[in-house]
């Protein structure tokens, strides 16, 4: 069992960037097709990443680089904790510690655009964090443990108990994936008031590392989506993969059909959905437990 967990964690470290990068490539392809374009190659994200590491390194503040590296390392560490089957609540805490390094990296430059992006990023973190913590709580309520390796051994998939939590989590995934309507901290479209927001001052390999870190983080988030569907039956793995793909497609659809909102609205929506969907589900579970 222990070796299995180690193997999965190692596989995560090795494969997550490839899988998520590929998903990202398909994302761009599908988005392009939705808009009636041909779109870039599905390998485009890898070309972009490779280029970023090959570019000359410019910097406005040298302190930025080590903080970004710390950000990356912390995200990977959180992922190892998650895929290694450890405590999911600690994974969430570790993710928020990682996010702090990103914030500090981007504000260290005294740049107006990255400052703007940073504060929006902070609002995003604040919007998402309650739901992330609640997901961990939900698993504890449904299965009785925070440990991922015990959660997957349940006989009935947690989704049966946690539909509200699932809805809330999918909602904040749009924020986490930086998709429209919530792409307010960094934008993937040009000519905007945020430029590149939190990553504005990150050049070449710095930006490459942030991209890589985001891929690792997305792997964790999609992993949590899958966790809702896993149970002791091996068939559930197929269900989990299908669920992940459906959620992923849904995010692309939302991205392509909505316009960006203001951060005030985002905060209200995210918290509102969290309270209504997850809060109600939480109350019901508590009542059932007695």
């Amino acid at each position: 069992m222990a070796t299995e967990r180690i193997i999965i964690a190692v596989l995560y470290v090795l494969l997550a960037p490839f899988v998520i990068g590929l998903l990202d490539g398909f994302d761009r392809k599908i988005s392009a097709r939705m808009q009636g374009r041909r779109g870039p190659s599905v390998l485009q994200p890898f070309f972009d990443l490779k280029k970023l590491f090959e570019k000359e390194f410019l910097t406005a503040n040298k302190a930025q680089l080590f903080m970004i590296r710390s950000y990356l390392v912390f995200i990977v560490l959180s992922g190892v904790l998650f895929f290694g089957g450890f405590d999911i609540l600690l994974v969430v805490f570790s993710l928020s510690t990682a996010a702090m390094f990103l914030i500090l990296a981007s504000t260290s430059t005294h740049s107006p655009y990255s400052a703007q992006g940073t504060h929006r990023e902070l609002v995003q973190i604040m919007s998402c964090e309650p739901m992330e913590l609640l997901v961990a709580v939900g698993f504890y309520l449904a299965i009785g443990t925070f440990n991922v390796n015990e959660i997957i051994k349940t006989s009935i998939s947690p989704i049966a108990y946690l539909p509200g939590f699932f809805v809330g989590f999918v909602f904040i995934l749009t924020i986490k994936f930086r998709k429209s309507p919530f792409d307010i901290a960094t934008s993937h479209h040009a000519h905007q008031e945020v430029i590149k927001g939190v990553t504005s001052e990150m050049v070449g390999k710095e930006y490459g590392m942030v991209t890589l870190a985001e891929w690792y983080e997305n792997a964790i988030l999609l992993g949590i989506v899958g966790l809702f569907f896993l149970n002791s039956n091996p068939v559930s793995i197929v269900c989990a993969i299908i669920a992940i793909l459906v959620v992923w497609f849904l995010e692309i659809l939302i991205d392509n059909t909505s316009a960006r909102v203001k951060w005030q609205l985002m905060l209200k929506l995210a918290w509102g959905v969290t309270i209504v969907a997850a809060g109600m589900n939480l109350l019901l579970l508590e009542i059932i437990r007695g």
Binding site: A60, T107, H119, V123
Partner: protein, 649 residues
């Protein structure tokens, strides 16, 4: 042991006379240092001696118990007279009513009431052990800091104010004495006396500058704390009249027993409810948070003292003490809900303010809210979490207040917005500030461990709606907490265009701050030891069980995270130090004036660029949230008090 404890309680009171009568600045400073040194030594010695003796909970009396009983009675009456005099002097006579009612009640019961059971006056156990170390070490360091700070305060910054340093330093010692007395007391009458002393001393310290604002705020603190005192007086009255017993520990035992014996248990809960109410006022929970916010007007050492080692900790101490009796009942629910609500509301409010001390004040309230919520739950896990939070909070808050005070003395501003790039201007101060902030919220420091345990315990709480609400409070509260600390941290670590200037911080201020920073790091590193050697016996003593609150595996993970927070950035720093990089200016649409701090304005002249944090005043502002928060929490308290009191009769 008796002698040591007697010395611990009495010495600070007596030592307070020295700074009060010596007016030569140098000489007084010497005696304050000496006094603080003695208090540290004495408290550590007492604690270590008790620890080495096996750490058994013991009951004992002071020598000349009778005499002390009389002193306390006279002291009560003296305090009442003092309050009455001062409140009439400043035309706030109504407040004296609160003091008169409670003191007369307690004195009358003591003199004419039924005879109460005799029992030992003092008690020493693991919780006391933790508390005396906090009060002795953290408190005394604040005392040391105060000498240097108050010198700068009067000589450099506030020449217009009357120099009453003698009084100030004397009050600090009185505070120590009262706090030591409070944590040792077993008899409620003794506890009440020390409780009143802390109320009055804090009132005097807040009003130190005698400006109109200071006086108003000090009276606010006074009436709120006196209201809490009424709670204790009521508990004494109930105890004397119903059980002929004023022993705190007996009351707790009665409350716990009644739960299992099927006696109508609300009657037994009544004194507990009164004490809990008193503790809520003292630990500045909503709706009584106003006084702690008002306390900012006082010079920084007194804020540090009120916020970290003393005063608010008195409330929290009492709650932890009675928490065993609050598990799964109405009193516990009240305390948990008020605490959880305060945790969330105060952290929202902290987002909207930019005054450094005010942020700290709100964060104290918020953090205490979490501690209070933990005690209200009353499970092993939550008590474990609460004690951890108390320790971490005491050290880091004291350090933060001292640091902000030093920054204010040096830069002339304590506004968070003015701390842009502190790391390059005053690196030493910035590092201290950062360690303090990290200690307050960052994984894997105290907050994380405690939050983990608290969340787990709240999910398991039996009451459905309390459990749901508490989980929501904690989840949302941690998000808002992260927000205001991170944005402060990012200010400090930013770049600054200002010229370096001289650091005016005194050496003794640094000694105190560095010692705090050292303690902080030691606490983090010693966390597994602390858990198994102090908190485990404590929980064993309180609950009679010996549960491992946090699994071995999670301790390992936390240590990994802990090492991570220090080591990962450090390694990365070393690895990237020699990276070749071309220095560029930041992107401002191409309009920088050659550096990162100015841009070309529409008139063609360079204009300085200011970067400001988000304060969300239209969502989280004080104007918007403060009054509703007070109303909600008042309703919670009133409803539950009605349930408890109504159920009792």
């Amino acid at each position: 042991m008796e002698m040591l404890v007697t010395a611990l309680i009495c010495l600070p009171f007596l030592w307070a006379i020295l700074p009060a009568v010596i007016h030569n600045s140098k000489c007084r400073a010497f005696f304050v240092y000496l006094g603080c040194g003695i208090v540290i030594a004495l408290s550590v010695f007492t604690a270590v001696k008790w620890y080495l003796a096996g750490g058994q909970a013991t009951d004992f009396d002071l020598p000349y118990r009778e005499a002390f009983d009389h002193v306390i009675l006279v002291g009560d009456i003296f305090l009442m007279c003092l309050i009455t005099y001062l409140s009439f002097k400043y035309k706030k006579g109504v407040i004296s009513l609160l003091a008169i009612v409670q003191t007369v009640l307690v004195a009358a019961l003591e003199l004419f009431g039924p005879k109460v059971q005799e029992s030992a006056a003092l008690h020493f156990d693991w919780l006391t052990f933790v508390m005396i170390l906090i009060i002795g070490v953290v408190g005394s360091l604040i005392g040391i800091y105060a000498v240097g700070y108050m010198h700068g305060y009067h000589i450099h910054h506030h020449k217009e104010l009357t120099d009453r340093r003698s009084f100030f330093l004397a009050m600090i010692f009185v505070f120590f004495g009262a706090m030591f007395g409070l944590v040792f007391s077993q008899s409620l009458i003794w506890l009440y006396f020390f409780w009143e002393i802390t109320s009055v001393t804090s009132f005097l310290l807040i009003g130190y500058t005698r400006t109109e604002e200071a006086i108003n705020n000090s009276f606010k603190a006074l009436w709120m704390n006196l209201l809490g005192g009424c709670g204790i007086a009521a508990a004494i009255a109930v105890g004397v009249l119903l059980y002929q017993n004023v022993n705190l520990y007996d009351m707790i035992k009665i409350a716990i027993l009644s739960k299992y014996m099927g006696i109508p248990n609300t009657l037994c809960l009544l004194p507990i409810a009164c004490l809990a109410f008193a503790a809520l006022t003292k630990s500045a929970q909503f709706p009584f948070s106003g006084w702690l916010l008002g306390a900012m007007v006082a010079p920084t050492p007194s804020s540090a003292l009120l916020h970290s080692a003393t005063m608010v900790k008195a409330g929290v101490y009492l709650l932890i003490r009675i928490s065993v009796a609050m598990a799964d009942n109405y009193v516990g629910n009240m305390v948990a809900l008020v605490g959880g609500f305060t945790f969330l509301a105060a952290s929202c409010l902290a987002i909207s303010v930019s005054d450094g001390k005010k942020v700290l004040a709100y964060s104290t309230i918020s953090n205490l809210g979490l501690i209070v919520a933990c005690t209200g739950c009353g499970y092993e896990e939550t008590i474990w979490a609460a004690v951890f939070l108390v320790i971490f909070h005491a050290v880091s808050k004291s350090m933060l207040f001292q640091c902000v005070g030093a920054i204010e003395n040096t830069t002339g501003s304590r506004d968070v917005e003015d701390m842009q790039g502190l790391i390059s201007l005053f690196p030493k101060l910035a590092v201290v500030l950062m360690i303090g902030i990290a200690g307050m919220f960052l994984a894997p420091f105290g907050m994380l461990i405690s939050k983990w345990a608290a969340l787990k315990a709240f999910i398991d709480t039996t009451s459905v709606y309390v459990s749901t609400l508490m989980v929501l409070f904690i989840c949302f509260g941690s998000a808002t907490t992260m927000f205001y600390w991170t944005k402060w941290l990012s200010k400090i670590l930013g770049a600054s265009g200002k010229e370096k200037s001289r650091d005016l911080t005194k050496k003794n201020e640094y000694i105190s701050m560095f010692f705090h920073a050292f303690m902080m790091v030691a606490l983090i590193l010693g966390f597994p030891w602390l858990s198994s050697h102090v908190l485990k016996p404590m929980s064993n003593e309180m609950f009679g069980t010996d549960v491992q609150v946090i699994s071995y595996q999670n301790i390992i993970i936390m240590i990994v995270l802990l090492v991570g927070v220090f080591v990962i950035p450090a390694i990365n720093y070393v690895l990237t130090k020699n990276t070749k990089a071309k220095q560029v200016i930041t992107y401002m649409g191409g309009a920088n004036c050659g550096d990162n701090f100015n841009f070309v304005s529409s008139t063609g002249d360079p204009k300085e660029m200011h970067i400001s944090n988000f304060y969300m005043e239209d969502i989280m502002g004080e104007k918007k949230l403060f009054t509703p928060a007070i109303m909600v929490s008042t309703v919670i308290i009133i409803v539950y008090m009605i349930i408890v009191i109504g159920g009792a009769f």
